[in-house]
C-alpha cells in the first residue's frame, strides 16, 4: 500500500473526517464487490453496514498497511450476516429446482448463487473472485482451512451438477 493511504488511515483514526471521506472512496468499490457477491440483491445494505463497521472500528486497526485485508474481513462478515438475515426473512429457497431455459445466462447464474448458503457464496467470492488462497479465505471467515476446502468443493459441485441438469 502506498504511504499516502497509510497517512489517510492515520488521519482518519485521529478524527479527520475528510480522511474518513477519502477512505470511503478507497474502500467502496472493493467492499461493494464483496458485498454484492455474497449478499446479492441486498448488497447495498451489506455494503452500508460494512462501511459503518469499518469506520467505527478504524481505531482498532494497528497497522494502516493492513487496511484492505482488515476491511475484507469485516465486509465478508457483514455480507454473510445480511444474507442470512434476509434468507431468514424470506424463507429458505428450494435446494434444487428444474433447470431453467438458458435464455439468460446471467439470470441463471444468479439463481444458482441464490440457492447457495451465504457461507458457500463467501468462499466462492473470496477464492474465485478475490483470488485468496484457502488459508487466507479461512482466516477471513474464521474457519478451518479444511472447512473452506469442503465448502468450495460442495459449492462448485453443486453449481456443476445443476448447470449440467
Amino acid at each position: 500500500m502506498q504511504s499516502g493511504l497509510a497517512a489517510t488511515v492515520r488521519a482518519a483514526q485521529e478524527g479527520d473526517t475528510m480522511a474518513m471521506n477519502a477512505l470511503v472512496d478507497e474502500l467502496m468499490p472493493y467492499v461493494g464487490r464483496i458485498c454484492n457477491g455474497i449478499a446479492l440483491g441486498n448488497g447495498e445494505d451489506a455494503a452500508q453496514d460494512a462501511l459503518i463497521a469499518i469506520l467505527r472500528s478504524l481505531r482498532q486497526l494497528r497497522e494502516p498497511e493492513a487496511l484492505r485485508p482488515w476491511a475484507r474481513r469485516i465486509a465478508t462478515r457483514e455480507a454473510v450476516r445480511t444474507a442470512k438475515r434476509q434468507r431468514g426473512d424470506a424463507g429458505r429457497p428450494p435446494e434444487t429446482v428444474a433447470a431453467p431455459d438458458r435464455t439468460d445466462l446471467g439470470v441463471e447464474i444468479r439463481d444458482q448463487l441464490e440457492r447457495m448458503d451465504p457461507e458457500q457464496r463467501a468462499v466462492l467470492v473470496l477464492r474465485d473472485l478475490e483470488g485468496l488462497s484457502e488459508q487466507e479465505a479461512a482466516e477471513v471467515l474464521n474457519v478451518a482451512q479444511g472447512t473452506v476446502k469442503s465448502r468450495l468443493h460442495r459449492a462448485r459441485a453443486r453449481f456443476r451438477r445443476e448447470w449440467m441438469a
Binding site: 473526517t17 462501511l51 459503518i52 469506520l55
Partner: protein, 158 residues
C-alpha cells in the same frame, strides 16, 4: 457501490454527535444540486454561516468534482472559519472545518429528489451537541429552505 444517501448515513453513524435530516424535496435533482453547489449563497440556508466566500477552487480528477476552500464567519461567535469542501456533481458534498462537519447528499426520485443533510461539531462534548444540532435543523426548517431555493432556481431556468 452505494448511493450518496447511504454514504452519508454510513459516515453519520461513524461520527460522534452527527445530526441528520432527510426528506424528499419537491424539486428536480439538477435544481437541488445546483442550489447545494452555490456555496457562496449557503448563508441563505445555513443560519450559522455568514458571508461565505470561495478562496480556492480546483478540479478533482479522481472524483470528477471539485476541491474548494470556503471562508466564512461562524455565528454566533463570528469567528472566521475555513471549510475544505469535496463537491461532486453526482450528489455528494462533504465539508470540514476546525469547528465542524457538514455533508449533503442527493439522489433523483422521479421528478423529485431524496436529500439528506448531516451536521456535526468537532468540539469536546460533541455527543451532547448532536441533539441540539438536530433540533436546530428542524426548527430552522433547513430541508424546506433547500427545497424553496431549488424550486426558485428551477422556475428561473424554465
Amino acid at each position: 457501490m452505494i448511493d450518496p444517501i447511504r454514504r452519508l448515513h454510513a459516515l453519520a453513524a461513524s461520527i460522534p454527535g452527527a445530526a441528520v435530516a432527510e426528506g424528499v424535496l419537491d424539486a428536480p435533482f439538477d435544481a437541488v444540486w445546483a442550489t447545494v453547489s452555490d456555496l457562496e449563497h449557503a448563508g441563505g440556508i445555513e443560519i450559522l454561516v455568514k458571508d461565505p466566500r470561495i478562496t480556492e477552487r480546483r478540479p478533482d480528477p479522481q472524483t470528477g468534482g471539485e476541491r474548494i476552500r470556503l471562508e466564512y464567519k461562524a455565528r454566533p461567535i463570528m469567528k472566521r472559519e475555513v471549510l475544505d469542501v469535496d463537491l461532486r456533481p453526482t450528489g455528494w458534498c462533504f465539508m470540514q472545518s476546525q469547528l465542524g462537519i457538514a455533508a449533503m447528499a442527493a439522489v433523483p426520485e422521479g421528478e423529485r429528489t431524496r436529500f439528506a443533510h448531516l451536521e456535526a461539531v468537532r468540539l469536546p462534548g460533541r455527543r451532547l451537541i448532536g441533539p441540539m444540532l438536530k433540533a436546530k435543523m428542524a426548527l430552522v426548517g433547513e430541508l424546506r429552505r433547500f427545497e424553496r431555493q431549488a424550486q426558485e432556481r428551477a422556475r428561473r431556468q424554465e
